[in-house]
C-alpha cells in the first residue's frame, strides 16, 4: 500500500499524472484566485481595447477588422490559460492535442466556407453584372 502511495506522489511531482482542463486538484485555492484575477484584468483590458478601437476610430480604418480579430483571439487565449488552465505542461498534452484538433476543424469549417461560398457567389453573379465585369 505504502509504495503505491509514494509512487503516486512521485508521479504527480514528475508531472506524469494527467490534468483535466479547469481542474487542479492538488492546488491551493490561493493559486486559483490569483490566476482568475490576472485573467479577469487581462480580459477586461482586451475587451475595452476592442470596444474603444471600434467606437473611436483610433486605428486606421482598413486595418480595423484584422485588429479586432487579433484582439479576440488574444482574449480567447487569455481565457484558455487563466480560466481553463490549459497549459503546455506534460500533464496537459491530451488537453492541448484535443484543443488543436478542435481549432483545426473550426478553421477548416469557417475559412473553407468563406472561401468556397465567396467563389460560388462570384460565379453565380447575375448575367448582366458578369457582362459589365468582362467589359
Amino acid at each position: 500500500m505504502s509504495d503505491v502511495h509514494s509512487n503516486m506522489h512521485m508521479s504527480a511531482a514528475s508531472g506524469r499524472v494527467d490534468r483535466a482542463p479547469g481542474d487542479d486538484p492538488e492546488d491551493n485555492p490561493g493559486h486559483w484566485i490569483r490566476s482568475y484575477i490576472i485573467g479577469l484584468c487581462l480580459a477586461t483590458a482586451l475587451t475595452i481595447t476592442s470596444f474603444v478601437a471600434a467606437a473611436a476610430h483610433l486605428i486606421w480604418d482598413p486595418a480595423l477588422p484584422v485588429a479586432l480579430i487579433v484582439l479576440a483571439i488574444a482574449q480567447m487565449g487569455i481565457h484558455l490559460v487563466f480560466f481553463l488552465h490549459v497549459t503546455t505542461g506534460p500533464d496537459n498534452t491530451n488537453n492541448v492535442l484535443a484543443l488543436a484538433f478542435g481549432v483545426m476543424v473550426v478553421a477548416l469549417v469557417v475559412l473553407g466556407s468563406i472561401w468556397i461560398m465567396g467563389h460560388l457567389s462570384h460565379n453565380m453573379m447575375p448575367a448582366d453584372q458578369l457582362m459589365q465585369m468582362q467589359m
Binding site: M1, V4, M8, V17, A20, P29, W32, D61, Q75, G102
Partner: protein
C-alpha cells in the same frame, strides 16, 4: 494491494486474473504500479480527470458546432434581401453591458470553484448565485434586444442575414439559459448532498461549460457586433 507479501510472481498472476484487461487503476508490472497516469502503461486515469477531459471533448465539439453557425453568418452576412443590415441592428452600449456581465460571471464562477476546492459550501453558493444573477442579466438583455428587433418587424424570416444572425446569437443565448438551469440544479445539489465526489465532478464540468460560453461570446461580440459596427 494486499498487506501480506506473496512472492511477486504469484502477486502478478493474481492481478492478471482479477483484472485481465487492465481496466483497474494498476498495471500488471509490479515494479511500476503507477496509478492511472493515462499514458497507456496502466489503467485509465482517475475518474475526476476522465470526467473533466470527456467534458472538454464535448465542449470542443460544441465549439465546432458554433463554428458552423459562424461560417453561415459570414457567408450570409451580405444577404439582406433589401432588409436591415447589421449596422442598423447593433446597439453598442447593450453589447458592452452583455460582455461585462458574462466576463464578470466567468470570474465569479471561477471563484466559486476555488471555494469548492477549499470545501467551503457558503462561498461556493454565494459565488454561484452571483454567477447566476449575472448570467440572468445577460439573458434578459439579449431577450430585450430580440424583442425590440421583432417589434420593428426585424425577424429571422426577413432575410438570410437575419436568419443567420438570430440563430448564431440565439444559440449562444440558449446555451446560457441551459447553463442557468444547470446552475440552479447545482445550487440545490451542493446544499442537499454536499461536496460528494460526483457533485464536485459536476461543478468542474459546469465551470468548464461557463468559461466556454464566455469564449464563444468573445467570438460573437467581435465578429457580429464590433465588425458589424465598423463595417
Amino acid at each position: 494491494m494486499t498487506d501480506t507479501h506473496f512472492p511477486s510472481s504469484i502477486e502478478a498472476l493474481r492481478l492478471l486474473r482479477e483484472d485481465p484487461n487492465r481496466v483497474g487503476h494498476r498495471g500488471h508490472v509490479l515494479s511500476s504500479p503507477i496509478p492511472g497516469t493515462g499514458h497507456g502503461r496502466t489503467g485509465p486515469a482517475n475518474k475526476r480527470i476522465v470526467v473533466g477531459y470527456g467534458f472538454w471533448i464535448f465542449l470542443l465539439s460544441d465549439i465546432v458546432m458554433f463554428s458552423c453557425f459562424f461560417a453561415t453568418y459570414a457567408v450570409l452576412q451580405g444577404g439582406t434581401a433589401g432588409g436591415p443590415d447589421i449596422r442598423q441592428i447593433v446597439e453598442l452600449p447593450r453589447v458592452e453591458w452583455e460582455t461585462a456581465c458574462l466576463l464578470a460571471s466567468s470570474f465569479t464562477c471561477g471563484l466559486s470553484f476555488a471555494a469548492t476546492n477549499a470545501r467551503n459550501v457558503l462561498w461556493t453558493q454565494v459565488f454561484l448565485v452571483i454567477t447566476g444573477l449575472l448570467g440572468l442579466a445577460f439573458v434578459l438583455l439579449e431577450a430585450q434586444e430580440f424583442a425590440g428587433l421583432v417589434s420593428q418587424g426585424i425577424t429571422p424570416q426577413r432575410s438570410g442575414f437575419l436568419t443567420a444572425f438570430f440563430s448564431l446569437v440565439g444559440c449562444h443565448g440558449l446555451h446560457v439559459t441551459a447553463g442557468l438551469l444547470w446552475l440552479g440544479t447545482m445550487l440545490a445539489q451542493v446544499q442537499v448532498k454536499g461536496f460528494r465526489r460526483e457533485i464536485i465532478h459536476r461543478l468542474i464540468c459546469f465551470n468548464l461549460f461557463w468559461h466556454a460560453l464566455d469564449i464563444i461570446w468573445v467570438g460573437i461580440f467581435t465578429i457580429v457586433y464590433l465588425l458589424g459596427y465598423v463595417a
